[in-house]
């Protein structure tokens, strides 16, 4: 049974120019629930358009091979088939996608389908468009493709050798390299009491695998010269910026629309190559709608995986108290066959460079390589979780090696509450937080002392029980200026969000924002904010969900990613609502012959209204909207600028980072989650099992506690699944081994432990509402579960060196330990033991 602990905080102060905070902060039921429990959500595959055709891809069964021949003649001859496309044909219709990376990265020719060779299993080589999905499937089987297999590159180590090249035009597999160095690393090592050397660590590939696969409908009508998309892409303004130059159309000709999305977690950001093919297919059919509903196997093999990172030659300097003074390490990201959205992952981790710790001297040599695996894409906790996991492994390995308990190790190294706002060595500013306080709350929740006693008793019985702590930062509202650290010429920086609040003709309050929610409850929290500004209730606010180029507000940054809706999204909505309130007040003052200062907003006998406190006269929203929209004769000229249709753009207060020093503020807010897990490894089967689990979150002021708790639960399930079950593994031939859910085994209700939940609030000084974005959660359980396993198995000589652990891998780790593997993984020196 889930337990919840909350620490008390003062009621939020209402911002100026709005009503009191009545709804913000309340755990109200979501507006979204009703249509979704009735099965009335509108997902892309539910849509049927007149004349709609279906596309099916023919995909490579090889990880790396030359395409000798593609023969679509038999497929094209099948009755019901409308057209076919091959990679060679597509090459003639588009330009390669723009590349974010500099130098060699610019030499990659990334077409939406494979042209001369395939570079990962599932790479699309041809496509068939037919009247029904079944005919398209049949026809795809008739496409004959001849391959000449090439040796696949399947690990960072192999890729670094540059013996076989994934993209020969690059001349190397290394598509990005940079050194992030701060403080005085060598001096710190010379002065260290202890230096711990750690061998290879590996963060595995996984994906949060949204239950709804990628799906889209494209219509490219040559008469209107517009491409209309209905899709579940979760960053449509970014996709449009990739599609426009590739397809050779203006960005204003690309219309994006989304409604309900069946989960995304970042993975749907990079489905734009398929959007390009669907548009080309539609054009080839003369402008008919073309639908693509991805299968699960396609999703597993060829949509996107989360980043895989390998850590080499880590050195850690510590003082005699176990305080980490320096870290020196070499990290290599494997971005798969194409850097789509990448190599941004090579800088995004630096938002949390020192994690929750005070270490000042850091040198991280960051590389990214291309391999013959599925391209990676942002996945919940993107790029930061790999760094956080690395730092937590460092803390645990050093703590265990030096004989300092894992909780004490953290308390000695945590950034302290009174140091906030804290500037990290690379110029990021942690806005607020109390990590030690969160750890204390977590210990209380799980019953730390009790478990310590149980653990000691169980160890005497020969049981492997471990207690692990995971300290996680969820950096939110990113500064796109960090892309300049990757490529000095990258034409983007900052962060913005737009919203429109309007009063429609019958007085309806309508909000549009263009965010692309996938379950985060944006309709609800937006309505809570607007209800407070106007002194009404959330059920009186209609919020238009999803992206809509024609109808909803957007900027080039609009999308749902990087934990930012509570800050950037709601700031835009709040700003628009405040503008609307001001216009309504001016209008009401004229209509009621009152002074603006005497007006109050609220709900009266005739619905939402504005009234004069002195005369008690009022005008309801219909009356106000009517005056502007359809009944405006006689309105004084000084009110002609009132539109009751107010747009506001929120600009986050960012500067462009210093690209030479790789220094600057990369993110606005830092929510935190501290998790504690008790795990046991079975002595006979070596299966790990979670015995107890507690999570404490702090995301500043909460807008809706029930949504926040739900997000914490969700990120916890993803992390536990990733740590113990889910793995996008490949065999040595480049076959993706988890191409169905039965192989990938997403976590189910029988594997998921009960969660103990605690909550603290450290308001952000950098957001108008004190909130921090928190949806990603930084894969907290991956660190936590690994820490628990480390604690359970350290005395048996095992170093947890991988983020994915199963009975099988633990069995092998114990075998290696018994043959001296431990000594290879960790070595300690004591240069100046007295310090």
């Amino acid at each position: 049974m889930a337990t919840t602990l909350r620490t008390k905080t003062k009621k939020a102060k209402a911002p100026a120019a709005s009503g009191p905070a009545k709804w913000v902060g309340q755990p109200i039921r979501r507006k979204e629930e009703d249509r979704l429990v009735r099965g009335k959500g509108i997902f892309v595959d539910d849509q049927k358009l007149t004349g709609m055709l279906h596309i099916r891809f023919v995909r490579s069964s090889y990880g790396h091979a030359k395409i000798v021949k593609v023969d679509v003649s038999k497929a094209a001859a099948l009755p019901g088939v409308v057209c076919t496309l091959t990679g060679a044909e597509v090459k003639g219709m588009v330009k390669p996608f723009i590349e974010i990376g500099p130098d060699v990265g610019q030499k990659i020719a990334d077409y939406p389908m494979a042209v001369d060779k395939v570079t990962f299993q599932g790479d699309p080589v041809a496509a068939v468009v037919a009247e029904t999905r079944m005919i398209a499937e049949d026809a795809a089987e008739l496409v004959e493709v001849e391959y000449e297999p090439l040796p696949p590159i399947l690990s960072a180590e192999e890729a670094l050798k540059d013996e076989t090249l994934v993209h020969p035009e690059m001349g190397t597999n290394r598509n990005w390299h940079g050194v992030f160095e701060y403080g005085n690393v060598e001096k710190a090592f010379k002065q260290a009491a202890h230096v711990v050397h750690i061998g290879r660590l590996h963060f595995h590939r996984f994906s949060s695998t949204p239950l709804e696969n990628n799906a889209m409908i494209a219509v490219w009508d040559s008469r209107s010269e517009r491409i209309e998309y209905w899709s579940n892409n979760s960053f449509p303004s970014f996709a449009a910026q990739f599609l426009s130059p590739a397809l050779g159309v203006g960005i204003d000709q690309i219309l994006m629309k989304s409604f309900d999305i069946g989960g995304g977690f970042g993975i749907k950001i990079t489905n734009y190559p398929y959007m390009a093919v669907c548009a080309l297919a539609s054009r080839k059919t003369g402008g008919l709608p073309v639908k693509w509903a991805e299968t699960r196997t396609e999703h597993m093999q060829a949509s996107a995986h989360g980043n895989e990172r390998t850590f080499f030659g880590t050195r850690v300097a510590l003082d005699k108290n176990g305080v980490i003074t320096a870290i020196d390490s070499r990290h290599v990201d494997d971005c798969g066959a194409y850097p789509r959205y990448e190599p941004l992952g090579c800088v995004i981790w630096a938002q949390v460079l020192p994690a929750a710790y005070r270490v000042k001297n850091v040198r991280i040599d960051m590389n990214q390589v291309v391999t013959n695996k599925c391209p990676v894409g942002p996945n919940r906790g993107y790029s930061r979780m790999q760094q956080l996991w690395f730092m937590e492994r460092v803390l645990d390995i050093c703590g265990h090696t030096l004989g300092i308990s894992i909780d004490e190790m953290r308390l000695r190294n945590y950034i302290r509450k009174d140091e906030m706002p804290y500037t990290t060595p690379n110029g990021c500013v942690y806005d607020s937080g109390d990590y030690a306080g969160m750890l204390a709350l977590g210990k209380k929740l799980i019953g730390w002392d009790d478990w310590k006693k149980k653990q000691a008793a169980a160890r005497k019985d020969g049981r492997w029980i471990g207690i692990g702590i995971g300290s996680t930062l969820d950096s939110g509202t990113n500064n796109f200026g960090q892309a300049r650290i990757i490529n000095n010429f990258a034409p983007f920086s900052g962060q913005s969000k737009a919203a429109i609040a309007k009063l429609d003709i019958y007085g309806e309050v309508v909000v549009s924002m263009g965010s692309v929610p996938q379950g985060q409850g944006h309709e609800t929290t937006a309505a809570q904010v607007v209800a407070d500004v106007l002194g009404i209730s959330p059920d009186l606010v209609r919020v238009k969900p999803g992206f809509d180029t024609e109808q909803n507000a957007y900027t080039g940054h609009t999308g749902t990613y990087a934990s930012q809706f509570a800050v950037a999204g709601l700031s835009a909505i709040h700003g628009a609502a405040v503008k609307l309130r001001k216009e309504m007040a001016r209008l009401a003052a004229w209509a009621l012959k009152a002074k603006e200062k005497d007006l109050e907003f609220g709900i009266g006998a005739q619905g939402p209204e504005v009234r004069d406190k002195r005369t008690k006269k009022s005008i309801n929203y219909w009356g106000l909207a009517n005056l502007v929209n359809v009944n405006n004769a006689g309105m004084p000229e000084n009110l002609w600028d009132v539109t009751l249709n107010c747009r506001h753009v929120y600009h986050a207060p960012f500067q462009i980072p210093d690209t030479k020093r790789k220094y600057g503020n990369l993110t606005l807010t830092y929510a935190a989650q501290i998790h504690i897990a008790v795990v046991e490894v079975d002595r006979e089967t070596f299966q790990p099992k979670i015995l107890a689990y507690a999570c404490v979150d702090d995301c500043g002021r909460t807008i809706n506690p029930r949504i926040v708790e739900g997000q914490v639960h969700g990120c916890t399930a993803h992390g536990i699944g990733a740590a113990l079950m889910e793995n996008c593994a490949y065999d040595s031939d480049g076959n993706m081994l988890a191409s169905t859910f039965s192989d990938y085994t997403p976590i189910t209700a029988v594997n998921m432990p009960d969660l103990l939940y605690g909550h603290m609030e450290s308001p952000s000084p950098f957001s108008y509402n004190g909130a921090k974005g928190m949806g990603e959660g930084g894969a907290a359980p991956v660190h936590t579960v690994c820490a628990g396993l480390q604690d359970a198995l350290y005395s048996s000589g095992v170093i947890i060196d991988d983020s994915h652990n199963t009975g099988d891998s633990i069995f092998h780790a114990l075998q290696r330990a018994s043959s001296g593997g431990f000594a290879i993984m960790v070595r300690v020196e004591h240069p100046r033991a007295s310090r």
Partner: protein, 161 residues
């Protein structure tokens, strides 16, 4: 293929007789979504793992992606669209909405039907029985915590009547 002879499938869906002429290989989920336009039943994995396509066939849960439509011929099917009565939510729907037992809502229809089936045969399930009953329904958003809470709430509510 298009040359294959179509077969007639008659099923009572949500208490209404429905009929369509389909290819024998038509999956039950395609029949519901494409022929009857009942799009509340979803497809998530194609391989019987995730349960987004769960419906009731003659009162028992089936994964409609793993049955050909002709196999359900003559049967009685309940989909999510058939759960409410005159617009009023079924107690299980109400409990999921009340407990925030969903986020994106894609898995929800399948979970609702698995829950209805569970509570029909076992009004007071234990925590373990609940987890087992929904083991074949994957949810990627909620971490199952609020789903378990919702099922317990529905069990309590339905027990009162």
């Amino acid at each position: 293929m298009s040359g294959v002879e179509k077969v007639s499938v008659r099923i009572r869906v949500n208490s209404e007789p429905r009929e369509a002429l389909v290819e024998p290989r038509t999956l039950l989920v395609e029949f519901l979504r494409e022929n009857l336009n009942l799009t509340g039943t979803h497809i998530g994995c194609d391989t019987t793992y995730c349960g987004a396509c769960t419906v009731l066939l003659n009162g028992r849960t089936v994964k409609s992606c793993t049955l050909f439509a002709p196999m359900a011929d003559g049967g009685e099917i309940t989909t999510v669209e058939g759960l409410s009565t005159n617009g009023a939510l079924h107690p299980v729907q109400h409990a999921f909405a009340e407990c925030h037992g969903l986020q994106c809502g894609y898995c929800t229809p399948g979970l609702l039907l698995s829950t209805v089936h569970l509570l029909n045969k076992n009004a007071k399930p234990t925590d373990k029985q609940i987890r087992k009953a929904i083991a074949g329904n994957t949810c990627r958003c909620t971490g199952y915590q609020n789903i378990l809470k919702a099922i317990r709430m529905a069990s309590d509510e339905m027990g009162k009547h």
